[in-house]
Subunit: 138 residues, 2 copies
Amino acid sequence: MKYERYHFGANLVLEIISGKWKPSIICSLDARPKRYNELKAYLQRVNGQPIAQKVLTEQLRQLENDLIVKRTDYHTVPPKVVYSLTDDGQRIHDFLIEMSRVGENLAQHLASADQPIAFDYSYQQMIHHQKGELHAKS
Amino acid sequence: MKYERYHFGANLVLEIISGKWKPSIICSLDARPKRYNELKAYLQRVNGQPIAQKVLTEQLRQLENDLIVKRTDYHTVPPKVVYSLTDDGQRIHDFLIEMSRVGENLAQHLASADQPIAFDYSYQQMIHHQKGELHAKS
DNA sequence: CCGAATCCTAAGCGATACTG
DNA sequence: CAGTATCGCTTAGGATTCGG
């Protein structure tokens, strides 16, 4: 990516986190680092929709270039690659939690004028789970 | 727009503000409400790039549906239409300021590993100008 | 196990022309 | 002045196939 000039800092943040799966990726790596296929399966579970391998790789590469995600390749056979959050990635994650709080407030108004809006994970849950992995619904 | 289910509240916020000009529109209407062509000219000035009429109308309609922007039509000839922020729009604007602070911090790291990144308006300026319109660079 | 390469579709954005 | 209507380009995302 080529960074040059922005009207606001907000535009830089948006450029970095805009991508269908990026917010979910960042939040998935918060609890603990994950291997590639582990992350892929996790994303599918929490979002109820499969992510194409090409897309996951693309978005991980971009997040890596933007210093949000760190890629660790163990160079073994068979391969083992682990993805984790950088310090900036952790800050973006914290910001996404705050963003979720704003979103849930907006949803109340939008829902009253339209239809109920459901969130799988509230920002309260996100805060609560910051130090512990979510349990899979077995 | 059809709201249904989201993984996080963050995804709702992103859906609402994602659009090339939406963040700029929201920030432009903060200082004071603006008429259509006034807003159009303002956006072109601060972003150094013209916005297509079709696109501006589209994004304004969407922001109106999402309860971010209020459209006031005076039904006169010639027409006079004024756009302003709703309460939720104001909250989103405040959030964009916070987002700019985060972005400017990220930029320091990205710039050191890449190239310098310039912001036309810092979040400090945004705060300072919340109660007063920006001066045009004459 | 973790990808790369290719092809395809839908949507965002923009240019242009026209209108009450 | 504040829009609509139409068309074309570009890009993000996804399905599929192949490789170290």
